[in-house]
């Protein structure tokens, strides 16, 4: 192709000046050099798609005027329209002349769509999906060796307590549903053998060869606009405006006692908030005071209210509506482990994490005063979408499911040989963090997956996981099969040979008893 191009250029030059023919060899050299030095100037697909979206949804003042005056409305409605128009034009003119801080408000509102928006990209636009760099155990609680039973259960529960935001989030409030749950469940035994997972569902066929992977869009304009707003402020003791081209990674705001802390993570495009707890200082503030007679500052003791799921959802909805939190990315709320979850949805399918828990906006309610305690994972519902090849061999996927999915094992059996049934899977999306981007920003992917429900959950023990999820994007599955299977699973908990429970796998006995470390099973 380069040769054809050179020939055409030469032909053109000889037509302009036939005497150049005698320099044909030199011209060949020159043109070769010129063509080789052509910069690689292909526009990035994401940039192209994003700019297109901005252009197509852009509305000029003129377009707005046209849409008003071209509407076929009765006169009394037209009067209202003219009045609205006057207000809008005035506001638009005023906004143009506002300083940077107020322009940012308008900029942000442009980028918050009224419905979930997706920007279509070319296939495989997010690069190779792979396990490398993924925090697959992010949400899936694993039993931790060397902890006593109740602590194991507690650590599993802690792993599923809703996140309340990064850096400074409050723990579950006293009297909240979450703390009550911890108290109830920690009494249940937890076992450490692996279950055999047996497929008991219907015949299942995967017919689509490609399915979309979604990625939460990271909008650089907002972080630059916010940074500009801060940089242009006059602090008096430092000139921040000299730090041009800065962008904001994160920011936190606080309303003080009784109000909310708000955490804005611009890198990931999400907001969390949690309520400040009131603090009461007692007359004797000495922290060195020991013993039951000492009074110390602490939370007031109150009883909590038992709230139904419906009541919890009502409180959450009221808060979300009051603060105009955009719900368009989410499905209907459900109560899961004491939190009200608004699950992210794509194409009618719910989004989960590896542990089988719904992924989405989480609201916790303080059931003492029945107010919203925290909300995490509030996102701006703009996503990028790119098709990826799907694994259509159901048996291959089933094999991974029967091994407990990407955890490499499904623990909790009281003894070896216990089995659980996997039911017919359903299509879902698996939420994953992608650390592989080269701009230092963690991105969030939603990968097509199959969720296999466990249909015969035992009632006599705590089950930290009630389903198995297997992502079916081929890239991702291939990378797991290459890296995950065959790796020895974590050591089961040690048990003692002293007095106490004779059940293997359940830690008991007093300190000083012989401690036995069972052989680690290896899965293939």
């Amino acid at each position: 192709m380069q040769q054809d191009k050179m020939e055409n250029i030469l032909k053109d030059l000889y037509e302009l000046d036939p005497s150049l023919r005698q320099y044909g060899d030199k011209l060949n050299v020159l043109l070769q050099k010129l063509l080789e030095s052509e910069p690689d100037a292909e526009a990035d697909d994401r940039f192209v798609a994003k700019l297109r979206h901005e252009l197509v949804t852009h509305q000029t003042k003129q377009t707005f005027l046209n849409s008003i005056f071209n509407m076929n409305k009765t006169p009394f409605v037209a009067v209202g329209m003219v009045m609205t128009l006057a207000i809008v034009i005035t506001a638009s003119i005023a906004l143009v002349n506002l300083p940077a801080q107020k322009k940012m408000t308008k900029l942000v509102s442009i980028y918050a769509p009224s419905a979930q928006q997706t920007v279509e990209l070319a296939a495989n636009a997010f690069g190779k999906l792979s396990l490398g760099g993924q925090n697959i155990l992010n949400k899936a609680p694993m039993p931790s060796a060397n902890l006593p039973t109740s602590e194991v259960a507690r650590s599993a529960i802690d792993a599923i307590i809703p996140e309340v935001g990064f850096g400074g989030g409050a723990p579950a409030a006293p009297g909240s549903v979450a703390t009550k749950m911890m108290a109830d469940v920690s009494g249940m035994p937890y076992y450490n053998y692996q279950y055999n997972l047996v497929y008991a569902g219907d015949d299942f066929k995967i017919t689509d060869k490609q399915m979309p992977v979604y990625r939460l869009s990271a909008d650089e304009n907002i972080i630059k606009a916010v940074a500009q707003s801060v940089l242009s402020a006059d602090f008096g003791f430092i000139d921040l405006s000299k730090f041009g081209n800065a962008s904001v990674g994160s920011m936190s705001l606080s309303q003080g006692q009784g109000g909310y802390n708000i955490y804005l993570n611009f890198d990931q495009g999400r907001i969390s908030l949690d309520k400040n707890q009131p603090y009461i200082a007692y007359a004797e503030p000495s922290i060195a005071c020991l013993g039951s007679d000492c009074k110390r500052g602490g939370y007031p003791e109150q009883t909590y209210n038992q709230l139904s799921d419906g009541e919890l959802i009502k409180i959450a909805n009221a808060f979300i509506d009051k603060y105009n939190i955009n719900k368009t990315a989410y499905g209907a709320p459900v109560v899961e482990n004491g939190a009200i979850v608004y699950p992210v949805m794509f194409d009618g399918k719910l989004s989960y994490d590896f542990g089988g828990y719904l992924n989405g906006m989480r609201v916790t309610v303080n059931s003492m005063d029945m107010s919203v305690q925290s909300i995490s994972e509030i996102i701006n519902p703009i996503f990028e979408k790119s098709n990826y090849e799907i694994e259509t061999d159901f048996n291959r996927i089933l094999k991974v499911a029967q091994m407990g999915g990407f955890n490499g094992g499904f623990y909790g059996a009281a003894k070896e040989g216990e089995s659980l049934n996997l039911g017919t899977p359903k299509y879902v999306y698996l939420h994953q963090y992608d650390y592989s981007t080269n701009d230092g920003r963690v991105r969030e992917l939603y990968i097509p997956a199959l969720l296999f429900p466990i249909t015969d959950l035992p009632k006599d023990r705590y089950m930290y996981q009630t389903s198995v999820i297997v992502p079916i994007a081929k890239d991702f599955l291939d990378s797991y099969v290459g890296n995950g299977i065959g790796v020895p699973t974590p050591l089961p908990m040690p048990y003692t040979t002293g007095a106490g429970s004779s059940e293997p796998g359940v830690v008991s006995g007093s300190p000083g008893s012989g401690v036995v470390y069972p052989d680690a099973p290896i899965n293939y």
Partner: protein, 187 residues
């Protein structure tokens, strides 16, 4: 170009999707054009955005009888790049990235810089206009009519400028390089 006219008329009547289709057709070539003048991805993206936003905002002023839509877009892009370098307030008159000495504090993509180095000494011998016309002809494959409309010169002038530029470059090819390629050719 017939289909362009339909889309342009629809855009001028407020159909944003029609403008989107025009955008699909020309965005990559406009981006390339701007990238050849800036050699920096983020700058090229920024200026491409500005180009299309300007085109979108001013679509009603476009007149098909005066120039083709692609030429009109290239003109907007060219002016956007010129404005970009002029507002940077360098102490030299900077038309594009080739004018730049290494001491200037401008970001260039590493890959582009390496490729640029191969031909920098040649390209810097040319005037900005000669350089621009050669890039449009050799790298972008534009014909003389299009080049003339974008640059605001006559077709004849563009041909002569291009020819003179190539002749200057031809004389710059070092004898050693010429010999090397000659040997490769006859191997």
């Amino acid at each position: 170009m017939e289909e362009d006219i339909t889309l342009i008329e629809a855009s001028q009547n407020g159909d944003n999707n029609a403008f989107g289709e025009l955008y699909d057709k020309y965005v990559k070539s406009i981006y390339k054009f701007i990238y050849f003048k800036t050699h920096h991805k983020e700058t090229a993206e920024d200026l491409t955005s500005k180009t299309f936003m300007k085109a979108f905002e001013n679509i009603k002023t476009y007149q098909a009888e005066k120039a083709s839509f692609s030429v009109w877009l290239y003109k907007v892009a060219r002016n956007t790049v010129i404005d970009h370098y002029r507002t940077k307030k360098f102490d030299v008159n900077l038309d594009d990235i080739w004018n730049l000495s290494d001491k200037k504090n401008i970001v260039i993509d590493t890959d582009a810089r390496m490729k640029m180095e191969q031909v920098r000494e040649y390209m810097q011998e040319l005037s900005a206009v000669q350089r621009e016309i050669i890039m449009m002809r050799v790298w972008q494959g534009m014909n003389y009519k299009e080049i003339a409309e974008v640059t605001g010169k006559s077709e004849a002038n563009c041909r002569m400028t291009y020819l003179r530029g190539i002749k200057i470059l031809k004389d710059k090819v070092p004898f050693a390089t010429y010999l090397f390629f000659l040997v490769q050719y006859f191997k």
